[in-house]
C-alpha cells in the first residue's frame, strides 16, 4: 500500500481504479478515461493532485535564494501572486525537477513540486537554504484540487461566498492568492482554463462532492496524462530527468541564462552546452498511420535508429496518436517509428497539439 491523499476513500467510494503513482495510491480513472478527458475539454473536471508537494520558503533573502536555486529567474516576478514555471537543475545541468514558484511576499515564496521527487527535492532545497537563512516548510497539511475546463472557474467559484468568488474570478492567468482559507491559482496542466486550489486537508472531500454536485466530473490521472500531452506539457521522469538538460527537453524557454550577475545551479554547464549546440531536441510527433505511439518506441530518422519516444498516447481530441520524442537536432519534418517491428510514418510537429479545446494542427 502506498501513501494516500485525504481524498483516497472518496475515490474508492466513487468507483475509481486505483494505481501506484510515484509511491501514492491514486485514481487513474473513474468510469471512462476518454470520457473524463472530453469532460475537461468541453466543460469541467476535477483532479486530486494532493500528492504534489507544496513547499513554503520564508526569509528576507528568499528571492536571492531562488535566483540561485532555479534555472528560470524569479526576478521576473514583480506582482504578488504571480507564478513562474522553472526547472531545478543539478550542477551538470540535468533536470532535478520542474516546478511552479509563486511570489507571495518579499519574504515568502511557495513552490509546488512533483510527487515522485518530493523527498529528493526537499533534501536538495534544505541543503542549500541555510546559506540564505531561508526556512523550508513542507505543507503536508494541504490538499490540492485541480479544477480544469472551459466552465471550471465558474463552477469552482460557486463553492465560495459572493465576495471570495469575485476575488477568485478576477485572478489573472498564472496568478494565485489566498482566498479565505484557500489558496487559489489560475494554473493547470491540461491546456484549458481553470484553477488549482490548495486547501486544508479537511476541506477536500466536501469541496470535491460540491464540485460533483455542480456537474464537474471526477477525473483520474489517466485523463490528466492525455490532456497534458495534447497541451504540449512535459512530464517529469518521462520527458526529462536528471540525465537530460532543458535544451534537449523543449524547456530552453524556461532557462534565464543571461540575467546579469546571476549564477544559478547548473548555469555553467548550460552555457557550455549552448555554445556547443545541443545534440538532441524534444519534438512533437503525429502518427500518420493507425496505431498508438508509446514511450520507449524507437524513432528512425532517414532510416537510422536515432531517437526514442518519451511520452506517447492516443489523443482523444484529435483521434490520432501523438507523442514527444527525443531526436537528433537536425531532424526535420518526418520520421518513422518502430511499433512492434513495423515502421510507421510520423510527422514532426510543434506542440501544443490542442489548446482551449481546439486542434492546433495545420
Amino acid at each position: 500500500m502506498g501513501r494516500q491523499t485525504p481524498l483516497f476513500h472518496l475515490h474508492q467510494e466513487l468507483g475509481a481504479r486505483i494505481v501506484d503513482f510515484g509511491g501514492w495510491d491514486m485514481p487513474v480513472q473513474y468510469s471512462s478515461q476518454i470520457g473524463e478527458h472530453h469532460a475537461v475539454r468541453r466543460a469541467a473536471g476535477v483532479f486530486d493532485v494532493s500528492h504534489m508537494c507544496v513547499v513554503d520558503l520564508r526569509g528576507e533573502r528568499v528571492r536571492e535564494f531562488l535566483r540561485h536555486l532555479l534555472a528560470n529567474d524569479v526576478a521576473r516576478l514583480t506582482l504578488p501572486g504571480k507564478a513562474l514555471y522553472s526547472c531545478m537543475l543539478n550542477e551538470a545541468g540535468g533536470v532535478l525537477d520542474d516546478l511552479i514558484a509563486y511570489y507571495l511576499t518579499d519574504s515568502w515564496f511557495r513552490l509546488v513540486v512533483n510527487a515522485g521527487t518530493r523527498d529528493k527535492d526537499l533534501e536538495w532545497i534544505r541543503a542549500r537554504a541555510p546559506a540564505f537563512a531561508v526556512v523550508v516548510e513542507e505543507r503536508a497539511d494541504l490538499a490540492m484540487l485541480a479544477v480544469q475546463g472551459p466552465r471550471a472557474r465558474a463552477k469552482a467559484a460557486q463553492l465560495l461566498g459572493e465576495k471570495d468568488a469575485a476575488t477568485a474570478l478576477a485572478l489573472d492567468v498564472f496568478v494565485g492568492r489566498e482566498v479565505g482559507p484557500w489558496f487559489i491559482a489560475r494554473t493547470g496542466y491540461t491546456g484549458e482554463d481553470g484553477f488549482e486550489i490548495m486547501m486544508p486537508a479537511e476541506d477536500a472531500v466536501t469541496a470535491w462532492r460540491g464540485l460533483n454536485a455542480l456537474g464537474v466530473a471526477s477525473c483520474g490521472l489517466g485523463a490528466r496524462d492525455t490532456l497534458r500531452l495534447e497541451a504540449g506539457m512535459n512530464l517529469y521522469g518521462q520527458d526529462m530527468d536528471e540525465g537530460t538538460h532543458p535544451f534537449e527537453s523543449a524547456l530552453g524557454w524556461t532557462v534565464a541564462l543571461d540575467s546579469p550577475g546571476r549564477e544559478f545551479v547548473g548555469r555553467e554547464a548550460l552555457v557550455k552546452i549552448r555554445a556547443a549546440g545541443p545534440a538532441r531536441k524534444l519534438v512533437g510527433l503525429l502518427l500518420e498511420d493507425r496505431g498508438v505511439l508509446r514511450g520507449h518506441q524507437k524513432v528512425r530518422v532517414e532510416g537510422v535508429a536515432a531517437g526514442e519516444i518519451t511520452s506517447g498516447t492516443f489523443s482523444p481530441t484529435l483521434e490520432r496518436s501523438i507523442a514527444f520524442a527525443r531526436v537528433p537536432s537536425a531532424t526535420a519534418l518526418a520520421v518513422q517509428v518502430d511499433i512492434r517491428g513495423k515502421l510507421l510514418g510520423a510527422r514532426v510537429v510543434k506542440p501544443p497539439f490542442v489548446r482551449f479545446g481546439r486542434s492546433l494542427l495545420t
Binding site: V28, Q29, S32, Q33, I34, G35, H37, G222, T226, R290, G291, V292, R294, T313, F314, P316, S321, R340
Partner: protein, 132 residues
C-alpha cells in the same frame, strides 16, 4: 459484475471461443478483460491465412493507457480478422461477445480438445479467484 455467456468457452487469460456451424471458431476477449483494459483506441487483428499456435500472441488491443497482447486459445489457421475494429475499436468495449470479436480461426485437428477450454462456470471461478 462481468457478463459471462453460458454458451461460450473461455481461457484463464480472458479470451472467449465460440464454435461456428462450419467448424471454425470465433475468438475475442471477455467482458472482464475489456473492462480491465478501459477504452480501446486501436486493435490489430491477424490476417487471413496466418497459421497460429495455441498460446501465440496474435492480436493486440490498445487502450489509451497501454497495449496488451491477445493469445490464441488454440492452434489453427486464421480465416478472418474482424475488419470493423480498424475503424471502431470501441466495439470491443461495447459488445465484446458480438461485434467486437477479434478473429475467426479454423482449428487444427484435435486443437479444440487440446486447448482445455473452460466452461462459463469454470471461468466465473477464475474471475472470483482474481477478485473480479
Amino acid at each position: 459484475m462481468s457478463n459471462v455467456p453460458a454458451d461460450l468457452k473461455f481461457t484463464k487469460s480472458h479470451e472467449w471461443v465460440r464454435t461456428l456451424a462450419d467448424g471454425s471458431v470465433e475468438i475475442g476477449i471477455t467482458d472482464h478483460a475489456q473492462h480491465a483494459l478501459g477504452d480501446l483506441v486501436f486493435v490489430e487483428v491477424p490476417e487471413a491465412g496466418r497459421a497460429v499456435q495455441a498460446g501465440e500472441a496474435c492480436a493486440v488491443v490498445e487502450s489509451v493507457k497501454a497495449a496488451s497482447d491477445v493469445y490464441s486459445p488454440l492452434g489453427g489457421e486464421v480465416v478472418a480478422g474482424n475488419p470493423l475494429l480498424a475503424t471502431q475499436p470501441e466495439a470491443v468495449n461495447t459488445n465484446p461477445y458480438g461485434a467486437g470479436w477479434l478473429m475467426r480461426l479454423m482449428p487444427a485437428a484435435g486443437a479444440i480438445a487440446a486447448a482445455r477450454l473452460l466452461t462459463a462456470a469454470d471461468y466465473q471461478k477464475v474471475l472470483e479467484a482474481e477478485g473480479g
